[in-house]
């Protein structure tokens, strides 16, 4: 009884704060507009106030579900009581927020000077075009009732972690299906493999033709990030070196390619395929230059040094010192594009090329992982001292990992510059390094399918959420945090990771020891 009230209170306060936050960032309005778009009820950009009620109801349902999930397996009336408590608490917070902002707005205070989302027009919509107190009462009643309904619904379905359970079931099913005797016979039959590969190849060949250029652009970006992710996966995922300046190699690759092929500022006009090779070589050399002196550093020191190196490269490219060579902040335009039997590459050709390179990259990364060097990397990642004691040349292996990672980045950079026909210093900010690192971690460290999935989730999904343009990064940041708490081993963890996953319910070993 006490716990359920406490849970309800906690859920209520949390969701009340979430409501106020959503209100202040203007999401309540945008959400209502989106619901109108989906239901087709918007009349000439006029959003009916009913949509606002639907938004509130969704929020309330989640409040109720959260309140219920705190009490595990409990009686129906307890679930409903918790839901009602949560709804009332969040409703009271919402009541206060609406009443205060509404009264101020009606009174003529210019809230939008400080909180730009609270301009009078939006506020009038949020008040249902009526008085602040009447609107606030509606909020209170609606949130309470929908939270009650949510708790009841959650009790009926009693779903708990259904998402993560569902995902795990699906994965075990798929993998057990692969392990099944008949299936594995088929898979290991070379003819069957050839047929499957042929089907996948044909599908990959025809997809870009049917997608249209918008999708080719997005998927091309995803493919470039897969290449980057594969490279960083060798450095971070395999050999365990935390490198936060991966963008430096990407930038050197892109600039080498651009400067060797663009008409300005040098007009060298090198053969494109040679230029790609040059990009890879220059990036690798950059890796060598960075790696030789610093790879003895460990952990966070290495992270900050490489981060600094990435910034150094970007600032140098932009600076007056190198403007004659790199064209400074303006960037390099008209970067060379490859020919295909006399015709300049179009988006479909690029997509094909990228797909091919991603497949080759996956193949190389897979072979590397299974090689002796790959096992040495994993040994270094798990315990450097032990690895050294078993006779592994840790320094050399780590340098090799960095060089290979840099080579991938150089290739990706050349493709990036060529596809965009432009490259400028602002393409290579710290955020690129962070994004690639997130791809590796979110996908699952050291896991190749993980890199592919991570790139799709982190670079593809945000493109799909164009509707919510302004809120993309906000959601991205929150998702990273949630992901690390709920599923720290990544979406598709590598098979042989030695991570102990700290589950949410059971405190980690260290915490237990400390508490006792």
């Amino acid at each position: 009884m006490k716990t359920i009230l406490k849970n309800g209170l906690r859920a209520g306060i949390t969701f009340g704060i979430v409501f106020i936050f959503l209100l202040l960032i203007g999401f309540i309005n945008v959400g209502s507009t989106m619901i109108g778009d989906i239901l087709g009820t918007n009349v000439q950009d006029q959003v009916p106030v009913n949509n606002l009620l639907i938004t509130l109801a969704i929020l309330g349902l989640f409040t109720g579900i959260t309140a219920k999930s705190g009490c595990g397996e409990c009686k129906w009336w307890m679930a409903l009581l918790g839901g009602l408590t949560a709804g009332l608490v969040s409703g009271i917070l919402a009541w206060l927020a609406i009443w205060i902002t509404g009264t101020l707005s009606v009174g003529g205070a210019e809230l939008q000077t400080y909180l730009p989302n609270l301009d009078p027009e939006d506020m009038a919509f949020l008040r249902f075009y009526s008085t602040p107190s009447a609107a606030a009462n509606t909020y209170l009643i609606y949130l309470s009732l929908s939270s009650l309904a949510g708790a009841g619904l959650a009790w009926l379905l009693s779903f708990k972690n259904w998402f993560s359970r569902g995902w795990d079931t699906a994965k075990t099913k798929v993998s057990s299906w692969f392990e099944d005797k008949n299936v594995s016979d088929v898979i290991h039959n070379p003819w069957a493999t050839a047929v499957i590969l042929a089907i996948v190849g044909v599908a990959l060949y025809f997809l870009p033709l049917t997608w249209g250029s918008y999708w080719n652009y997005i998927m091309g970006t995803v493919a470039i990030y897969i290449l980057l992710g594969l490279g960083l996966n060798i450095i971070v995922g395999y050999s365990g070196q935390l490198v936060l300046g991966y963008v430096a190699f990407f930038a050197t690759g892109a600039y080498t390619f651009a400067l060797l092929t663009a008409p300005t500022p040098h007009g060298i006009g090198l053969n494109l395929w040679l230029a790609v090779g040059a990009s890879v070589v220059v990036s690798t050399l950059t890796g060598l230059l960075l790696g030789l002196p610093i790879l003895n550093l460990r952990g966070d020191y290495l992270a900050i040094v490489t981060l600094g190196f990435g910034e150094i490269i970007r600032i140098l490219i932009k600076s007056d010192l190198l403007t004659d060579i790199t064209n400074g902040p303006k960037g390099v335009t008209n970067v060379g594009q490859p020919n295909w039997f006399g015709e300049v590459f179009n988006d479909v050709n690029y997509m094909h090329l990228l797909m091919l390179l991603v497949l080759i990259g996956l193949f190389i990364a897979k072979r590397l992982k299974d090689s002796g060097t790959g096992r040495a990397w994993i040994a270094i990642r798990e315990d450097q001292t032990v690895a050294q004691a078993t006779g592994i040349n840790t320094y050399g292996s780590k340098i090799l990992a960095l060089l290979l990672g840099a080579a991938f980045a150089g290739l990706a950079g050349a493709l990036f510059a060529s596809r965009n026909q432009f490259t400028g210093p602002e393409d290579f900010t710290l955020m690129v390094s962070i994004n690639v690192l997130c791809i590796v971690i979110v996908g699952g460290m050291g896991s190749l399918p993980g890199v592919v999935i991570g790139a799709f989730v982190l670079k593809g999904l945000p493109e799909l959420l164009r509707e919510l343009e302004d809120y993309r990064l906000l959601v991205f940041g929150a998702l990273l945090v949630v992901m690390m708490i709920v599923r720290p081993e990544g979406l598709w963890p590598a098979a042989s990771t030695h991570f102990k996953q700290p589950s949410k319910k059971q405190p980690s070993e260290a915490a237990v020891e400390v508490k006792q």
Binding site: F21, I25, G26, Y114, P116, V236, L242, L292, P293, I294, L295, N296, L297, R298, G299, D300, Y301, A303, I304, V305, L307, G308, F309, E311, I312, I315, L316, K318, S319, D320, L321, T385, Y395, L430, L437, C438, I441, M445, Y471, L473, L474, F476, G477, L479, L480, V481, M483, M484, I485, P488, F499, K500, Q501, P502, S508, A510, A511, E513, V514, K515
Partner: protein, 365 residues
């Protein structure tokens, strides 16, 4: 020493290190000779100006760097969102000053005065309390929500969580308060661009009020922190937890609460630095925390991460390097970050645990 040299193996890395070191020393010597006896482009007054700017910015870096170092010392994680904690403090200070400017002062204080100019000292104290309080609250919540569930996870996991929190906070501030730049409303006695004129080498150099104020305040805060860590019971338990969590728990120290308090303290320092930043520089927006955050982390590493005097020294040094480095090396001022990061790389190549850091045990690295 000689034994040490005998055991030295000439790896390619070491040769490269020696070559780089010699190169840097020769270049530095040549540059210092040039600036001292050769060109003479900059007079003593200009150097004085660089010195003042460097100390002021260095004080703020030091305050933020202490936050990184405290958290790192206890949890061995980079609190990547620390710059965003400072940014929210800047916003809180801005709103406090705007509010004080909007409140009319009682008639006794004088005609047509607002609260801010009638009682500037009280208003400033309250502003700093608002900024520091907000940042402390954000730091506390950050630890509760984003870091506490991840204790004992592999090292990279909390780092990604911190990066996520950083992105979230930055965009939340943009969505809440809008992307435009805002300007701090200083009280009249601390008006930006006013200051004392100090004669240096026949010319006058301005020591701005805001600069002097920020510097003095940052020194005071650092002294207060030092006393807190060295003399109080909380400081003692913080040091104990940093040394060994389990042993500290066995001695009856509530580890979770000490960690929370550490985040609160680093939040307070970051918030104060944020308000100083606003008061001294004036313009700010939601990006204000990002660059100082990275710089301060650099400063913390430069001094030896986990080491509080190291963070203070690293911050000051980084500030001075940024303001004087380009002139000393005869480079453009847009390269000041390159110089700062290059110095960091060089320091770490030759002293891998930072200037004041002790060699860390394997577990802590």
């Amino acid at each position: 020493m000689i034994n040490k040299l005998k055991n030295l193996k000439l790896t390619p890395g070491l040769i490269l290190r020696i070559l780089v070191g010699l190169g840097v020393l020769v270049f530095l010597g040549w540059r210092i000779y040039q600036t001292a006896f050769g060109e003479g482009t900059y007079g003593p007054d200009t150097w004085m100006r660089f010195l003042i700017a460097g100390l002021v910015i260095g004080g703020m870096y030091a305050l933020i760097a202490i936050g990184y170092t405290l958290v790192y010392g206890i949890l061995f994680m980079i609190n990547f969102a620390h710059g965003e904690v400072m940014m929210l403090g800047t916003f809180a200070g801005y709103f406090a000053l705007e509010a004080f400017a909007a409140i009319p002062a009682p008639a006794a204080a004088g005609p047509d005065l607002n609260f801010l100019n009638a009682y500037p000292v009280i208003a400033l104290i309250l502003t700093f309390l608002a900024g520091a309080g907000t940042s402390a609250l954000v730091g506390l919540l950050l630890e509760r929500i984003a870091y506490r569930p991840l204790r004992g996870a592999p090292r990279l996991i909390p780092l990604i969580s911190a990066i996520g929190a950083s992105i979230f906070l930055q965009n939340a501030a943009q969505l809440l308060f809008g992307p435009q730049r805002r300007q701090y409303m200083n009280p009249d006695i601390l008006w930006r661009g006013m200051g004392w004129m100090i004669p240096v080498g026949g010319k006058e150099v301005m020591l701005t009020y805001t600069g002097a104020f920020s510097f003095v305040l940052s020194i005071l805060l650092m002294v207060a922190l030092f006393i807190l860590v060295k003399r109080t019971k909380l400081g003692k338990s913080m040091r104990a937890v940093a040394e060994n969590k389990q042993a500290a728990a066995l001695m009856g120290i509530d580890v979770d609460s000490v960690i929370s308090k550490t985040f609160i303290i680093s939040g307070i320092l970051a918030g104060a630095a944020g308000v100083m930043w606003g008061i001294h520089n004036g313009l700010f927006n939601h990006y204000v925390g990002f660059i100082p955050g990275i710089k301060a982390f650099t400063a913390a590493v430069l001094g030896g991460i986990g080491n509080i005097p190291g963070a203070m020294m690293g911050g000051m040094l980084l500030g001075l390097l940024e303001s004087m480095g380009p002139a000393l090396l005869g480079l453009d001022f847009q390269l000041k970050d390159v110089i700062a990061f290059t110095i960091l790389i060089l320091v770490l190549i030759f002293r891998p645990s930072g200037l004041l850091g002790e060699a860390l045990t394997e577990e802590k690295v």
